[in-house]
Amino acid sequence: MKQNTSARTALKVDKLVKFYEGNPLLNGLSFIVGPEEIVCLLGPSGSGKSTLLRIIAGLEPFERGSVTWQGNDLLKVPPELRSFGLMFQDYALFPHLNVFENVAFGLRMQHISETTITQRVNRALERVGMLGFAKRKVQKLSGGEQQRIALARTLAPEPKMIMLDEPLGALDRKLREQLTQEIRQILRTTGVPAIYVTHDQEEAFTLADRILVLSNGRTSQIGSPEDLYNHPATSWMANFLGLGNVIKGVVLSIQPLIVRTVLGDIRCPPQRLKQSVDANIIILIRPDGVEIAHKGKNSFRGVVEDCVFQGDHYRTVIRVTGESFVFNLPDKHLPGNEVILTINEEKVIFLK
């Protein structure tokens, strides 16, 4: 990924270090955001995602590193002169101003004419489908409506970059799914880069050009949603993204590649990385990586512990020698029954 030339870089965060109460919250974090690119920051709570946004916005000091915009250091630029948009999870709509005045706030700070302000506020409200709400009080709006107004307020001053801090976190699932699509549409049409903070990977997968997973103040992995899904770098990533069953094993032979695990000896697809015999490794078997069989290579026996209908499959918990594994099976199996499953070797992934 060679985006590191300033022509293709809008924002660059370089070796950022931020301490919180004596402990490093961000520990040498580096990444770039390209023009028109949507980067999702994904990470467990407390990983410093929101702090990072506040640092980029200029609202929070940091100890070391730099934040640059198109090659210019932002250190001395106060937040009001950065022309970034930032939207909070709690929306922070000004309670003493109505919908119109909220959206107009950023425009008023630019000292532009009242006619232009009205036009641009209306355009922003139209964009989020709230044109008729201009005179309403913000406290009287529903959560979804407040979210749209907050988005309109962020968009109205036409920021150079948009940052959204868990903007859908306070909404129910159905509304969230709907608004994720709408936000995606709106962010695409604005044509400016965006950083979207979330802890919901579905949201991240829907919206992002690239996803940056934060853990312990560092980049755990950065890549496109497909990259992350198909090639999770570590067992932590696989667990965090909930990609499937993470299993420890020992290499038995190289040609063919066979790994001894609690599920038995598993034949795996050839790997680019050189493995040596007796090496300890970790593999990932996806939930859809098995099928019911009677016998054969790569098969193992287990007892059904639980079986839950999920629409197009049954989420089935299988117990094998004291450990539980989760697989998606096409048919229902009663708890207590024994099943034999065959692992599809194409669905086995090696982790670091």
Binding site: A57, G58, L59, E80, L81, A92, M109, Q110
Partner: protein
């Protein structure tokens, strides 16, 4: 959710209200009626001579003027204080937060003594300046001036502004200011367009409250302002007790009541949704140490002013009361002569052979006795009222504001009314001044109700429901679930009622008996009599009362803390 408590009938509501309404009716509304009756306003309107009009208008104008000046200056100190205390962490913050409660409890006579000991002719600063510069007379003549009154009012009300505005500021979503900054507003624009408009309701509410307190202030004006300045409240006292013009006094009382009630109504309107606690929970805030330099300097300045206002008068009082007294000598060198208990021991000696001499320990005993009786009057009444207010009955909408009325009317009016209503009855003729704790109870009752009520409202309805479903009847729910949860507010309100009675001065000036003086009355006697010994004794007695009050404060904060730990 109150309608869910459908078990109560109108009869239960009436039963709960009966005693409190009877009490207020006899001891508040009948005296009020007496005042109205004596003012003759319904018989022939306000028939005042031109001289009398002047006697009313002059103090009224002054009352409003000093209240406006006091309120504005109080806000000037209180708002920066609210900002610093609600935004920053620093050593000593907890102490200042704890001290915010002090003015709520400290009696006016003590505050007067405090300022006297700091800035009076024999005060700490004057004596210090006289010693250093070898002056013959005290250089600072602040006492008995307009500014002394203002200073007293600032001392009393700054903490109110800090509590109300600080609470609102602390609760304000920081993302409002952050959003404004990101949307292009600089610090100044953010303050102008976001922070101040959002704080306006709390500033308005606290200003009104401060204005009401300044408007009805009695002790501060009488003791710090001296004879040259009279507010309406002081003028009522003078007309009733010195000029013996009861009709004029009642007319003034009436004007006073109408104005305070009007202000209280406006306050009720703007204070909607405003809340504050006596021991504030202000958010943790950022460390002042790591704040930018200008912020640090500003905060330190504000804290210094707060310290000067809250602590130096208290320190001066204690120091002054223990400065050695040399009989017969002139002023001597204060503060450097070492601590002495001579003023305290002087309290036990009747040098002038006065007929009205009462040993101070008797005054302490009287005060404690009245305070205890006050608690026994207000607590049961308060609990009954709170229980009654919980019932979903229309009658509450009328009775709720009515029980708050004694808080709105001035203590002097209260005392005057009680005197007028009962001076011919057996209640007044018995040797023991029973009207005194009753008056104190009237002043304390609204506070007791307002302390217990939020606590009882905060008990989740489902708690009672769960208990009922588990087989408890209504009485058991009350006894085993709700009363144990109310222990803390009941203790706090008792201490409050106790302290109100300890320091009450306005009503007491009308109702006390020479043979049953309370501590504030004794201090007042000492303060208004010339001489170093009297002055020193006033300081000593004030220190005793202050210690009693600070003990009460500690009790309140200890209960509050254990309660918070339990949560």
């Amino acid at each position: 959710m109150k309608s869910d408590r459908g078990w109560i009938s109108i009869w239960q509501s009436i039963a709960l209200w009966f005693v409190p309404v009877l009490f207020l009716g006899i001891f508040f509304f009948i005296p009020l009626g007496k005042i109205i009756n004596l003012s003759g306003i319904f018989q022939h309107g306000l028939q005042l001579t031109q001289g009398e009009w002047g006697a009313v208008v002059r103090p009224l104008t002054f009352t409003i003027f000093q209240a406006v000046v006091s309120t504005v200056l109080t806000l000037c100190i209180g708002i920066p204080g609210a900002y610093v205390l609600s935004h920053f962490r620093f050593t000593g913050r907890e102490l200042i937060k704890a001290a915010l409660i002090v003015p709520f409890i400290l009696p006016t006579v003590v505050v007067a003594s405090c300022f006297n000991s700091l800035l009076g002719p024999h005060g700490m600063i004057n004596e210090l300046l006289m010693t250093i510069f070898h002056l013959q007379s005290p250089p600072i003549a602040l006492l008995n001036s307009f500014w002394a009154i203002i200073l007293g009012h600032i001392f009393y009300n700054t903490s109110l502004v800090i509590l109300v505005v600080g609470e609102a500021w602390s609760k304000m979503n920081p993302n409002y200011e952050t959003s404004a900054r990101v949307l292009g507003a600089n610090r100044f624009q953010t303050a102008l367009h976001i922070t101040f408009p959002l704080l306006t309701p709390s500033v308005l509410a606290s200003s009104l409250l401060v204005f009401i307190f300044d408007f009805t202030s009695f002790g501060v004006v009488l003791l710090l302002g001296g004879p040259a300045f009279a507010t309406l409240e002081v003028e009522i006292f003078i007309q009733a007790t010195q000029m013996l013009n009861l009709r004029l006094a009642t007319v003034m009382s009436l004007i006073q009541i109408v104005m305070t009630l009007g202000l209280a109504a406006v306050y009720a309107g703007v204070s909607h949704g405003q809340s504050f606690e006596l021991t504030p929970h202000f958010k943790r805030g950022e460390a002042l140490k790591s704040s930018p330099f200008p912020q640090k300097i500003f905060s330190l300045g504000v804290l210094t002013v707060l310290f000067m206002f809250f602590f130096t008068p208290l320190i001066a009082l204690v120091t002054r009361s223990m400065t050695s007294y040399q009989s017969g000598s002139s002023i001597g060198i204060p503060f450097f002569g070492g601590a002495s208990w001579s003023y305290y021991s002087e309290l036990f000696i009747n040098r002038h052979g006065s007929l009205f001499y009462v040993p101070p320990y008797e005054a302490v005993f009287n005060s404690l006795l009245f305070a205890t009786i006050t608690v026994f009057i207000t607590l049961p009444l308060g609990v009954l009222i709170v229980l009654a207010l919980r019932q979903p009955h229309r009658i509450n909408r009328i009775l709720d504001p009515l029980i708050m009325l004694p808080l709105g009317s001035s203590a002097v009016t209260l005392g005057l009314g009680l005197l007028l209503a009962f001076n011919t009855t057996a209640l007044y003729k018995i040797p023991f001044p029973v009207l005194l704790p009753i008056a104190h109870g009237l002043v304390a009752l609204p506070l007791v109700v307002r302390i217990i009520q939020p606590a009882i409202d905060a008990i989740p309805v489902n708690l009672a429901f769960s208990a009922r479903i588990l087989g408890a009847d209504r009485w058991h729910v009350l006894r085993d679930i709700e009363f144990p949860l109310l222990k803390q507010p009941v203790i706090v309100s008792s201490i409050f009622a106790f302290s109100v009675s300890l320091g009450e001065f306005g009503a007491t000036t009308f109702l006390n008996r020479p043979d049953y003086p309370t501590i504030p009355i004794v201090i007042y006697r000492f303060l208004t009599h010339p001489g170093q010994v009297n002055y020193g004794q006033a300081m000593a007695m004030s220190t005793i009362l202050m210690v009693l009050c600070i003990l009460s404060i500690l009790c309140i904060q200890l209960t509050d803390q254990t309660n918070r730990e339990r949560k």
